[in-house]
Symmetry: C2
């Protein structure tokens, strides 16, 4: 997905929020905004918004010295999500269609996104995700491909959210799938890293790897060879969240994108309303 | 009022909205955002947000060649407001306190502000303004000073809004006040100019002058000598809207600010909630 002009004001909102988390020093916060501003004229709109996100958060680390401004928030949401997911687990077990229920719960967790939102209502996201219709729902194809697949690469998104993913991962594990769960290589916004995936216990059901990405998405040119090999060879790829959609929507292989459309620009790109839940088969170079 | 870091993302939102009104050419819209970005590091935070507004809209005129992107919106809101005000007029005539009713109606019109908001509900603003409590309500002092004043300078804000001001202007005219109504010298966002004031018929009750300001507020250093003389010598000054508050809050003379607090930063500066209506005595160098 390309960057739209509407993304530019949002880059500054995101930079300011992150800078304030990283430091109380207003001079440094201002310096972050100044440096982001100087990047704007150089930034090509055919790059994805995630690439500017990468630049912004690299600048914040450089200027403030804080390598993980979201560390505390990530811990908090991992713990909160783990508790919520324990309560949601019976919903999957008792559902007429456990797979669909696990998909809905995984998408509910995608609200925990400090890149797109500065505040959100997790309980409401769960409630809506269980009850609402999907904006895009390529579920029959999802089931068909999942049944036909041996290996599944699941590209996670945010800390906390990955606890919601775990129910779906566990279900696919029980279906006998060979699962690889990929996360970012370094802390970026509140995106999950290997540490978070292990904390949530995803490593009991999947091989956990880092993608090589230091961006809030999956920029293939920056990914490591191991991830790229799995990405090309896996029978099926599931990618969570807006950042993975923005960076992989033209990746040249089939990918099931699972997300909640939190920003109006991503929603428009997907042809859905802001707030809609989405399970979309995409990823072809022509899509 | 100084500029806060929170204003910086908002400058880009405002620049993009105005650039899109000024031209359909996305290359020029992008050029506007690039040029605004280059201004950010140079902009002193002790300047008012209005000064950046001035720069942004000067750049838009320069890059797009469109000297009045809001011309059609201004016309539309003048016409809409004139019709609404005809219906509201009896409310003032029949009120227990016609002056307070006219103040409330004048503030209701302050929602027509394309600098602060990209969309708004004018009917709802009127309804709330008639019914809600004020966030700040220096009304006793307002009445006292008005009764004691011969000359009143009323600094208007936006096209459309000035039709709402007219009821209060007319009432003060009937009270025998010598009224001067000041507007911007050139089109800037949807701020009213002399043409709008005359269209609304304010010149029947007040001497209409332009302040010399080419900014969406009243930057005294840029005002013309006639305005400055009246500003210093008028017995009473009333200033409408956020832009006039931002630029005159430290002007060194008593001013009654009448506005609807539309942005969270101005609301915080005034100690009120976003959406609150305000009649505040301020303007002293020490306030």
């Amino acid at each position: 997905m390309k960057t739209y002009l509407d993304c530019i004001p949002c880059f500054f909102r995101q930079a300011l929020e992150a800078a304030r988390l990283a430091t109380d020093d207003e001079v440094k916060q201002r310096e972050v905004l100044n440096r982001v501003a100087l990047e704007i004229p150089k930034f090509p709109l055919d790059a994805t918004p995630v690439e500017m996100g990468r630049t912004i958060h690299r600048l914040i680390k450089e200027i403030t010295g804080n390598q993980d401004p979201y560390a505390e928030l990530k811990r908090h949401y991992n713990e909160l999500a783990a508790k919520m997911v324990e309560k949601l687990k019976p919903l999957v077990r008792n559902a007429d269609d456990p797979l669909q229920m696990a998909v809905r719960i995984a998408i509910a967790g995608n609200i925990i996104d400090f890149g797109a939102l500065s505040n959100f209502d997790l309980d409401r996201s769960v409630e809506e995700s269980l009850r609402f219709d999907f904006g895009v729902f390529d579920y029959e194809e999802f089931k068909r491909q999942l049944n036909a697949s041996e290996s599944v690469l699941y590209i996670g998104d945010n800390a906390g959210e990955i606890c919601f993913d775990k129910l779906l991962i566990e279900l696919m594990h029980e279906m006998g799938k060979k699962l690889i769960f990929a996360v970012r290589s370094v802390p970026i916004i509140n995106d999950a890293t290997v540490e978070d995936a292990v904390w949530c216990g995803i490593d009991r059901f999947a091989q956990v790897i880092d993608s090589g990405s230091d961006a809030p998405g999956t920029i293939l040119e920056h990914c490591n060879p191991r991830f790229l090999e799995i990405f090309r060879q896996a029978d099926m790829v599931i990618a969570k969240g807006q950042g993975n959609f923005e960076t992989l929507s033209d990746a040249g292989r089939p990918i099931f994108f699972m997300l909640k459309a939190k920003c109006p620009i991503v929603a428009r790109e997907l042809g859905v309303k802001t707030g809609d839940i989405v399970l979309k088969l995409g990823g072809n170079a022509t899509s």
